[in-house]
């Protein structure tokens, strides 16, 4: 009896120790990022390092927006990610429905190919094409290439969702004389709203995070935030405070979304193993 209890106690302790060990690299990293962004330059280059900002300052954040035109880049990022996500929903939700209903596993495999292809591998011809069309320097090429990330995510998640829905309600609608389009819009889509939410969040996040398309296709005024923050590193003398602040500005929306929508995000990621780029 006593041995049994000891074993149980050891098991619990081991579990808690493991969880702390697993979670702490993530937690400590983001705390250090926050710490860097809230310290003045003197404390940031001090050795041994200063861990807790004293006093904390927002000067780095002000600096980022004043010196680097981050407002423009934020607007660019918002336009690109929202357009790419919106278009992907428009194209991908019906596609997911069609593939799920027709049980078209081959089409699903095609989506998988889009998921595994490295983004860089179709950038050479697209870069040339956009150059011929005179579109370099506008946001259009970015929106179009981001579709490569967002459409597969949406289709993939929606296939899973529509497959899980019972078909009886739509069949009833069809018997009552609805067209399949009406059955889709008025019956299946409202039922799949949670799935659309998951698809929207994930496709937005992975579009927002994308770097590789921007670094090749964006001009000086059309940079998205990830490209802009990379340029802070290369073109300024390294000052850690503003750099950390800029990094935090770029990734904060995504981190907040993850914290607020954790249930949806975990469900979506578990289903598809999705990742952009």
């Amino acid at each position: 009896m006593n041995r049994h209890r000891l074993r149980r106690w050891l098991g619990r302790t081991g579990l808690y120790a493991s969880v702390i060990l697993l979670v702490s690299p993530a937690v400590l990293f983001f705390l250090w990022m926050l710490s860097l962004s809230l310290k003045n330059e003197l404390d940031n280059t001090a050795y041994p390092p200063v861990f807790i900002p004293h006093p904390p300052t927002l000067a780095n954040f002000v600096d980022v927006f004043e010196k680097n035109d981050f407002l423009t880049y934020t607007i660019n990022s918002v336009i690109v990610s929202f357009s790419a996500t919106g278009l992907a929903l428009l194209l991908g939700v019906p596609a997911g429905y069609g593939i799920a209903k027709a049980k078209a596993t081959k089409a699903a495999a095609l989506i998988l190919v889009a998921r595994v292809t490295p983004g860089l591998s179709y950038l050479i011809p697209l870069f040339l094409m956009f150059q011929w069309l005179g579109m370099i320097g506008t946001l259009t090429p970015l929106v179009i290439t981001h579709l490569v990330i967002t459409v597969p995510i949406v289709v993939w998640i929606m296939i899973g969702f529509f497959e899980g829905l019972p078909g009886e309600l739509e069949e009833a609608a069809l018997v009552d004389g609805a067209t399949i389009w009406q059955a889709f819009v008025h019956v299946a889509m409202p039922l799949a709203r949670p799935g659309i939410m998951v698809a929207m969040i994930l496709s937005f996040i992975f579009s927002w995070n994308n770097f590789i398309f921007g670094v090749v296709l964006a001009g000086r005024t059309t940079r998205t935030l990830p490209v802009a923050v990379y340029n802070v590193l290369t073109f300024e003398q390294i000052s850690w405070g503003p750099l950390a602040a800029a990094a935090l500005v770029v990734t904060a929306p995504v981190l907040l979304l993850t914290l607020l929508m954790q249930r949806e995000i975990v469900a979506g990621l578990t289903a598809g193993g999705v990742k952009g780029g």
Binding site: L22, G98, I124, L128, N209
Partner: protein
């Protein structure tokens, strides 16, 4: 659209479901068109370009397979392959081991599990470029916080990404930190779907936690582990952001993987013909692994 729907409506009820199956294709046409335009056209054009000596300006003479022949003699390319393999092994094995361990932990019940899981998932959701910049600051040889932590526990400082012998292990560490959560989520999904009966029986027989993991969890979750492994393998080969931001393939070319070399060839040296040839080889490699993924998925469905 409405015309076809109307004609189908005239059919007897019993056949309706099957008759509709064909029309559901129409729903996928717009998405398929976009995917084909944005992906298929570039592939065909890439193969075409790889057969030419194609710079951004000037003539583009046909050179046959010369670009491919050049690859076999290009030491930089061959070294990039070696490095990619080495980097890929590291960034598959480490996240797989840690990810399975994490999944087993997060499958048990404990206080604040939801919060812990969300915090654990944050690295894979965060913007890779932003993350990479912060790592770069942490790796600073004199002022970086990591060397401070190492020396404060009595270990020698590391040169992290500033030395050719430590750069790849360091990048593997960053990738492991970032992508272990994805493995964890996929495997956790597998564990969550397991039946409870074998565990109940094992507890009655007095099995230890390790025995239960080894003889029940591991064999039953194996298909999910394989899916996670193949997904990780593909993502590892595709790694770009982290390496580009932290080292740009340096110091020298000691962390230049295939993807970085591809970027440099095409967009720094503007040798688009040779870059395209590298793309073709790279793509064939990825396609081979994707077929592997499909087979794994099918096997999973058969069980």
């Amino acid at each position: 659209m409405s015309a076809t729907a109307a004609t189908t409506l005239l059919r007897p009820d019993a056949r309706r479901g099957r008759a509709y199956a064909r029309h559901y294709w129409a729903f996928a046409v717009p998405a398929a068109t976009v995917v084909l335009l944005v992906i298929l056209f570039p592939w065909i054009f890439t193969v075409f370009m790889s057969l030419h000596d194609w710079k951004v300006t000037g003539a583009t003479p046909f050179v046959g397979l010369a670009n491919y022949a050049k690859m076999l003699q290009d030491e930089r390319f061959l070294w990039a392959i070696v490095r990619t393999v080495w980097f890929t092994i590291g960034t598959v094995v480490a996240p797989m081991l840690l990810g399975v361990w994490a999944a087993v932990c997060f499958a048990s019940n404990f206080r604040l599990r939801g919060l812990a899981r969300t915090l654990f998932v944050l690295p894979m959701m965060a913007t890779p470029v932003a993350i990479a910049l912060v790592w770069t600051m942490m790796f600073h040889p004199q002022l970086g916080v990591l060397n401070y932590l190492l020396t404060s526990v009595g270990l020698p400082p590391s040169s992290w990404v500033y030395d050719s012998s430590t750069v790849i292990p360091t990048l593997v560490m960053v990738e492991t930190w970032q992508w272990t959560p994805l493995v964890m989520l996929i495997v956790l999904g597998g564990i969550a779907s397991l039946p409870l009966e074998p565990y109940e029986a094992a507890i009655l027989d007095g099995a230890s936690a390790w025995q239960m993991f080894r003889h029940i969890t591991l064999p039953l979750v194996w298909p999910f582990i394989m899916v996670a492994a193949v997904i990780r393998l593909i993502d590892a080969l595709k790694t770009f952001d982290t390496i580009y931001v932290i080292t740009l393939g340096g110091p020298g070319t000691s962390s230049e993987t295939l993807n970085i070399l591809l970027y440099q060839t095409a967009f720094a040296y503007y040798d688009l013909g040779y870059g395209s040839a590298i793309v073709v080889v790279f793509f064939l490699l990825i396609l081979l692994i994707s077929l592997l993924l499909l087979r794994v998925r099918q096997r999973e469905a058969w069980r």
